[in-house]
């Protein structure tokens, strides 16, 4: 696209520096976004993408560097629309208010309900007309997926010339992502520029024109058209030479499981028995998989699914019951369902083990275990005693997975576990799943990325848009195309 004069850049950030305490998070980072382009900002977890976005949008002060928006260094940060990685919804306000209120600056202005609803409905229709039914609900009642869509609708309807999207698709289904991309393309035709952060290589290729790659806070690739750069180059730029693409599943890493279990799942006409070592995928919009997951982790009081373990009917009465029976659980909704925000990293890591192993005392061994887990997932942390909020989004996600590494759960339930996790780490996670399964455990995995399911699962239950079971795929039948068809997500 426009690679001509620098004056056409909507955003030009040069030599941005930022340190948190002792860590240099951004070192002379550079980012230039031209008018009307979709610009991918790439980098591993903790590379500094979100930090750069927060600096550009004015919610964080930079230590050094210059930023110009449309050639102005004195720009109004409010004129840039942002979808932050950790979302910024107002839980007690309705969806309609969440979309419309932030655009208002007139403190004494009237809230015209009809106008606001209509405006919000229009914004939502661009993403998914089904969401209009949620307009009057408080945002606290939405699930992560819906919250993400509402945020996106808010940003896209803002009328801003520059829209920064920090991993907007991390919680989206394939169909939703497709609709988003269509909308983005339409916006670029109006001259609006989009900055997009994503760890999903395929969608970057589909939608973005240009990329900038950050590694350890430096812009190692500065504005290269995606057409001119190969996947391999991108990965190498992101990960650096030092880091292996995938850590070999070393024997030491294999958890010592005492044999496996068979797991039976039944609902309506579906009855499925999984042998030890199976990996079951759940594909489709959130409503369907949520039922299985709730039954398995004991969070539903009246589960719609019936479960058998080793042939015996089993009902998990509470999450504690499930955990003590060997069920592990990782959710991509880290803020709500995972991270203990006021507790240090070591407590966050040890939390599941303390329950599962019925520990009474905080043992010093936990520190060693925590260090081991951090190492295996290549988690960079300043200190085990820092708070999770000092970690990047993807790194926090890794913490939640690391919780379970040493526990060898018999059944591991994953709800979008790779949300926001970088490509290198994703591979490690696939490996871990393989290792866990090889030790006889059963993995039940919901992901909106069909490619990851296709890569790892031996069974997949597909759900349609209303949450009803729409198919059971086995072994070779598990392809992205088949899942897309079965879930009705061919946009």
């Amino acid at each position: 696209m426009s690679r001509s004069a620098s004056t056409t850049f909507v955003l030009e950030a040069t030599d941005i520096e930022k340190t948190f305490g002792a860590t240099n998070v951004l070192q002379k980072a550079r980012l230039r976004v031209a008018r009307g382009e979709i610009h991918a900002l790439l980098g591993g977890n903790g590379a500094g993408k979100s930090t750069l976005i927060r600096i550009v949008s004015g919610s964080l002060h930079r230590d050094a560097g210059a930023i110009q928006v449309s050639g102005q260094s004195n720009y109004d940060a409010g004129a840039i629309a942002v979808v932050f990685q950790e979302l910024a919804l107002l839980p007690d306000l309705t969806v309609a208010e969440n979309i419309c209120l932030p655009h208002r600056r007139d403190a004494f202005g009237r809230v015209d309900a009809r106008h606001m609803r209509a405006q919000a409905a229009r914004a939502l229709a661009v993403i998914d007309p089904a969401l209009i039914a949620l307009l009057a609900l408080p945002a606290s009642r939405l699930d992560l997926h819906q919250r993400q869509l509402v945020e996106i609708a808010r940003a896209l309807s803002s009328g801003a010339q520059l829209i920064l999207l920090d991993e907007p698709t991390a919680n989206l289904t394939f169909a939703d992502s497709e609709r988003l991309f269509t909308a983005l393309r339409r916006l670029t035709q109006q001259g609006i520029s989009i900055l997009l952060v994503s760890h999903r290589m395929s969608e970057i290729r589909t939608v973005a024109d240009v990329c900038t790659i950050l590694r350890d806070g430096k812009s190692v690739v500065d504005r290269r058209p995606l057409a001119e750069i190969s996947d391999e180059e991108i990965v190498r730029a992101m990960m650096g030479e030092g880091r292996e693409k995938a850590t070999a599943p070393a024997g030491a890493a294999a958890p010592a499981t005492s044999g496996g279990v068979t797991l039976g799942l039944a609902k309506d006409r579906l009855a499925l028995t999984l042998a030890p070592g199976s990996v079951l995928g759940l594909a489709g919009a959130p409503e369907g998989p949520a039922g299985v997951i709730a039954a398995l982790i004991g969070s539903a009081s009246h589960p719609a699914w019936s479960i058998t373990v080793n042939g015996e009917p089993r009902r998990f009465r509470s999450p504690a019951d499930a955990i003590r029976s060997g069920v592990g659980y990782v959710s991509g909704d880290r803020a709500e369902k995972g991270v203990l925000a006021t507790l240090p990293i070591v407590d966050n890591l040890a939390a599941a083990g303390r329950v599962a192993r019925k520990r009474w005392l905080v043992s010093s061994g936990e520190v060693q275990d925590a260090l081991g887990a951090l190492k295996r997932l290549a988690i960079k942390a300043n200190s085990l005693y820092a708070l999770p909020q000092t970690l990047s989004g993807g790194t926090q996600q890794k913490l939640l997975i690391a919780r379970w590494l040493d526990l060898a759960p018999k059944i591991l339930v994953l709800e979008e576990p790779t949300r926001g996790v970088d490509i290198g780490t994703k591979r490690e996670i696939y490996n871990i799943i393989g290792v866990v399964a090889a030790a006889g455990s059963i993995v039940v995995w919901w992901s909106t990325e069909f490619s990851e399911l296709a890569q790892t699962c031996d069974h997949v239950i597909a759900f349609d848009l209303h949450g009803a079971i729409s198919g059971l795929l086995k072994q070779d039948e598990i392809t992205e195309v088949a899942m897309t068809r079965a879930t009705g997500m061919a946009a």
Binding site: A96, R117, I132
Partner: protein
């Protein structure tokens, strides 16, 4: 826990109340109001129930005189609770309102006894309220101190100054026209204290529901960090609610002064906890983001009605706390039930 702390449902914060959209089935505006104010209606029913029970012992509870009396003595608490509510919605707390009540009353009393006309003296009293609120607001926003600590400090300082300025003496207010503030009728047929309560409640309720600023108050309490990211003037809103709370506490004091015609340094001592309780009974959560003016006003009225009821029945004062506590428990359970049903 959040849920546990929210005595009322979340639907309270819906902004729109008049409008429907094509996609959403239209329901009558009466039934809509019913749904929005379910919790408040439950509270109102509970209040009537309490009065009904009291009437077995003391039929006078429903007499005009008694109702006027209850309204009169509830008025200052209603006004104060409205201010406290705003602070609570932003997830703050204001412990200083009780001593602001006392201090502003003493200042106005002093001004009057020094010969100032009562409207002028009231302005002085209100200025005290604004000043205390502004100090609270500044310490909370600029220094980022915890509201509990800040308002505990201003509470202590205010209570102390209320004694200092008159050396502990109470002041009898002799201006024969001062009663007009409370007992006059700016609107013919409606005594001022009723008018101020109604007006205050309606103004705050509408402001919260219909003004952008009002929605910001909920936004700030709902998620401070997100509000900042979204460009909502968080500090302005925070500082503002403390100022309004101070102003309303002072106004509440003027109203009470006008009725009692006696200014005392400890007059507001019990009111702080009552005002907070009124908000919480009325559905506000101390974690912020929820609460309504109508609820807070009803909460204040309920507290007063219970007090009136135990007095009318003639329950031994030692037992009054127990009875009051249990009645509040029942009222809260009724509200809970109303919520479960819906």
């Amino acid at each position: 826990m959040m849920e546990a702390l929210t005595v009322r449902g979340p639907e309270k914060n819906m902004a729109a109340s008049e409008e429907t959209s094509a996609a959403i089935p239209r329901s009558g505006s009466a039934s809509r109001l019913l749904a929005t104010y379910r919790s408040e209606i439950a509270l109102a029913v509970a209040i009537l129930l309490i009065m009904g029970v009291v009437s077995f012992w003391s039929p006078q509870v429903f007499s005009y005189g008694n109702i006027a009396n209850v309204a009169q003595s509830a008025a200052p608490l209603v006004i104060m609770a409205l201010g406290v509510l705003l602070v609570i919605i932003t997830s703050g707390i204001d412990l200083s309102v009780g001593s602001t009540f006392s201090l502003s009353g003493m200042v106005a009393g002093l001004a009057m006894s020094a010969g100032a006309a009562w409207p002028l003296a009231c302005v002085a009293g209100l200025a005290v309220g604004i000043a205390v609120g502004a100090i609270n607001g500044l310490l909370v926003t600029l220094l980022g101190l915890a509201p509990f600590v800040v308002t505990l400090i201003t509470y202590a300082v205010g209570a102390s100054l209320a004694f200092v300025i008159t050396d502990g003496h109470s002041i009898a207010l002799l201006d024969p026209t001062f009663y007009l503030l409370n007992g006059g009728q700016l609107i013919p047929g409606v005594t001022n204290y009723v008018m101020f309560c109604l007006l205050g409640t309606i103004a705050i309720e509408l402001g919260l529901r219909k003004l952008v600023m009002g929605r910001w108050v909920y936004a700030v309490g709902s998620n401070d960090k997100a509000s900042r990211l979204l460009g909502i003037p968080v500090n302005g809103i925070r500082a503002g609610v403390y100022v309004i709370a101070g102003l309303l506490a002072a106004f509440s004091s003027m109203l009470s002064l006008s009725y009692i015609s006696n200014s005392e340094a400890t007059s507001g001592a019990n009111m702080m906890l009552q005002a907070i309780a009124a908000c919480v009974i009325g559905g506000a959560s101390l974690f912020g983001g929820t609460g309504s003016a109508v609820g807070a006003a009803l909460g204040a009225i309920m507290i007063t009605v219970i007090q009136n009821g135990v007095n009318l029945i003639g329950i031994n004062s030692f037992w009054q706390g127990s009875v009051t506590g249990l009645v509040i428990l029942v009222a809260v359970l009724i509200d809970r039930l109303a919520k479960v049903r819906a």
